[in-house]
């Protein structure tokens, strides 16, 4: 058990270490450019594959039991101790399985996607390192140990967003993501400090044990701090502005870090700390409300994007909002269900988007991609089918994974009393409708267009083979995004809910307060919403109207496209004044006061030494006079001392 857990953790780390140490062996710098870094990629894939095997083995061996194990003490000081310890329960098991599985597929996809790029060793090193840190978040017991992973994924995200670092915009986007997530991390640091002050240690098992005896005020403060951390990591309002810009990174990175795993780490943290949050109902309500608002916000913003990756980025913000909503309802299995199904269909959508962008010769604009829709349909039918699979799951058309997971969350939120949940329910239902609209819009705009006179001849014969190779690994994800919902179907269908059952015997998790009253009606209503969204999107963007893209008054411009101006708000309110302050400090304080002071001081010394050097002309009589004057002065001084 311990061996397998360690193997799961350490294989990606070993992979990450091997990349820089043995880069020369992999022939990164020489040889055929098409094969450059091929071995680096294969080693990286192997590391993640072994990690996945270990994750499966642990899941089988653990049989639903919870086990905590301490690896080694880390450090201790002043009554506070931290240790490297793991807490394995079914929640962590499923999360680890999702992370390693999606990572493996994305690694294999990267093998084809990044072929021939410069710096593959660096790419796969960070990708492997990311998997390691993500597994650390997933498995860690000690919250400080978790924090190590938490910062680690942020660092890897930063490095990979700026992977093409020769373009300044990419590096800036990476920095923005890093700074925004740091803001949230302050919450986690503060929570850690509070726990250290309370208990002298900060581990999940300790929190679970002591949460019930915590006084409500402290529990609430801790809960809000944790919520802050989760909001920052998961790009929820008001910290959502970094995620659309994070799309500057390579597409597999967007799929892995900014859709499937890292941004869901916030929701996962809430799940891991659910014993604590259960003591703070106000925090739960706030979580649900923020999640619902963000879900609607992201969906509306996604409706107006023209860049295919930005559509998916806003869609991620929106879907993670649903996870927060579920966490706010205290429904751990429901949140995990949404997390997993989202990981499958969103990473699928991202990677298919990568294929489409490659087919379009680097074109990100969905309307321009749509001009070659007929060629796409003819030459890359597999890619089109994959895209449709992901999109219907995102749109929550009946019996897809997204339908079941979202239905579960809607049932949760409708079943809870209190105005925050009522408001959240309305928002979430509206978001479900908008989600269907934008998901179907994406399919219609990109795939359903007719051939047009200005169609770029971009689907080249040479590319088709490569794109099909990339798309080949995506079929498991397509199957999962269609069929994964049956792992946890709603009760009224009369099927076994595997996920609920697996998580039910984890003693550390509070039992969700499920209500099944509304389920059948709600399922029907949700299906109706999705179909209505489909109908509306078809009216607006369907084949009949394809002659007029960007005519709906939404696309590419206006409030929605700019994410309600949130980014601009940050630029004017925070970044602008900060930049002006920095310029002011640079120009006035640094240049005038510090530099000026130093220059003036040096000038004074120069003038003084020039004046003094005039005295030393080397004339003997001058020297004699000076000698005598000095002697006279010395003698006068001595005489005055005598008197």
């Amino acid at each position: 058990m311990k061996t397998w857990l360690l193997a799961m953790l350490l294989f990606p780390l070993a992979g990450a270490l091997v990349q820089p140490l043995c880069g020369r062996l992999f022939g990164l710098g020489s040889g055929n450019p098409a094969d450059r870094g091929h071995w680096a990629a294969i080693v990286a894939c192997a590391a993640v594959a072994l990690s996945l095997c270990a994750a499966v083995a642990v899941l089988v061996l653990a049989q639903g039991r919870t086990s905590a194990l301490a690896l080694c003490p880390w450090f201790g000081m002043d009554g506070f101790t931290a240790q490297a310890s793991l807490l394995y329960d079914p929640l962590a098991g499923f999360m680890a399985l999702t992370v390693t599985f999606v990572s493996l597929l994305i690694h294999i996809y990267s093998l084809a996607f990044m072929r021939g790029e410069q710096g593959l060793g660096r790419y796969f090193c960070f990708l492997n390192l990311f998997v390691f840190f993500m597994l650390l978040i997933t498995l860690a017991d000690d919250l400080l140990f978790l924090f190590l992973g938490w910062e680690g994924v942020g660092f890897c995200s930063y490095s990979l967003i700026g992977f093409w670092h020769r373009k300044t915009a990419n590096v800036v986007a990476g920095g923005k993501a890093f700074i925004f997530t740091r803001l949230g991390d302050l919450g986690l640091v503060a929570a850690l400090a509070v726990m250290a002050g309370l208990w002298g240690a900060s581990s999940l098992s300790l929190v679970a044990a002591k949460a019930a005896s915590l006084d409500p005020g402290t529990a609430q403060a801790l809960g809000f701090l944790i919520l802050l951390a989760a909001l920052g990591k998961s790009a929820q309002l008001p910290f959502s502005a970094w995620l659309p810009d994070a799309m500057a990174g390579p597409t597999p990175v967007s799929a892995l870090i900014h859709a499937a795993t890292m941004v869901t780490a916030g929701a996962y943290l809430l799940l891991r700390l659910s014993p604590l949050l259960a003591q703070a109902p106000l925090v739960l309500e706030a979580t649900a409300l923020v999640g619902a608002v963000t879900a609607l916000y992201g969906a509306l913003a996604a409706l107006a994007q023209k860049d295919i990756k930005r559509v998916l980025a806003y869609s991620t913000i929106s879907q993670v909002g649903y996870m927060f909503l579920a966490a706010g309802c205290g429904d751990v299995p429901g949140c995990l269900f949404q997390l997993m199904s989202h990981a499958f269909f969103k990473s699928l959508l991202f990677m298919v988007a990568g294929c489409l962008i490659r087919a379009g010769g680097g074109e990100h604009d969905i309307f321009k991609l749509g001009r070659m829709a007929s060629r796409l349909r003819r030459e890359l039918p597999g890619v089109c089918i994959l895209f449709a699979c992901g999109a219907v799951s995102l749109a929550a058309l009946p019996f897809t994974a997204g339908y079941f997971s979202k239905g579960r969350i809607l049932a949760d939120v409708l079943g809870l009393p209190g105005w925050p949940y009522a408001v959240s329910a309305v928002l979430a239902l509206a978001a479900a409708f908008v989600t269907a609209v934008y998901a179907v819009r994406l399919v219609y705009v990109v795939l359903a267009g007719q051939a047009r006179e200005s169609a770029p001849a971009s689907v080249r014969g040479a590319d088709v083979a490569g794109i099909n190779r990339m798309a080949g690994v995506l079929w498991p994800l397509a199957i999962l995004s269609l069929g994964f919902g049956f792992v946890n179907p709603p009760h009224f269908l009369g099927l076994t809910a595997w996920l609920d059952a697996a998580l039910a015997n984890a003693p550390s998790l509070p039992a969700p307060a499920l209500s099944f009253r509304f389920e059948p009606a709600l399922a029907a209503f949700e299906a109706a919403l999705a179909l209505a969204g489909l109908w509306l999107a078809r009216r607006l963007y369907g084949p009949g109207q394809r002659g007029t893209p960007a005519r709906t008054g939404l696309d590419g411009t206006g409030m929605l496209a700019s994410g309600f101006g949130l980014d601009a708000l940050y630029v004017t309110v925070v970044a602008g004044p900060y930049r002006r302050l920095a310029l002011l400090v640079a120009s006035s304080l640094d240049q005038t006061v510090l530099d000026g002071g130093v220059t003036k001081g040096a000038g004074a010394f120069l003038a003084f030494s020039k004046a003094v050097s005039g005295l030393a002309r080397g004339r003997i009589t001058d020297s004699l006079a000076a000698l005598l004057a000095a002697m006279a002065a010395a003698l006068i001084y001595l005489a005055s001392r005598l008197g």
């Binding site: 080397g618 003997i620 009589t621 004699l624 006079a625 005598l628």
Partner: protein, 103 residues
């Protein structure tokens, strides 16, 4: 001692000041050396006066030492001067500016 020590000291100080003024003001090297000699003489007068005042031979011994030193210094200085003159130098002290660092 019939002459009071004060008078002797005044004479010594006057000699010393005259010598110093000579050494500083004159531009010829020989006159500077003469000024230095007069300063020596002033100091020697002060020693002699002090020796008489306190009836001690130490002052006279110091004077003999100073006279020897002055003779040696003068001989050395004149030898240097002759050497410099032979090398095409001059007797004007202002021409010797090597110590100014601007050769």
């Amino acid at each position: 001692m019939i002459v009071p020590l004060e008078h002797v000291l005044i004479l010594a100080a006057a000699l010393f000041a005259l010598g110093a003024a000579c050494a500083v003001m004159r531009r010829g090297v020989i006159m500077i050396l003469v000024g230095v000699e007069i300063m020596f003489t002033g100091a020697a007068v002060a020693f002699i006066g002090a020796a008489l005042r306190w009836q001690s031979l130490d002052g006279q011994a110091a004077v003999i030492l100073a006279m020897g030193l002055a003779a040696a210094e003068l001989a050395f200085g004149l030898a240097l001067l002759v050497h410099a003159r032979r090398r095409g130098g001059s007797l004007k002290s202002d021409r010797y500016t090597g110590l100014g660092g601007r050769t």
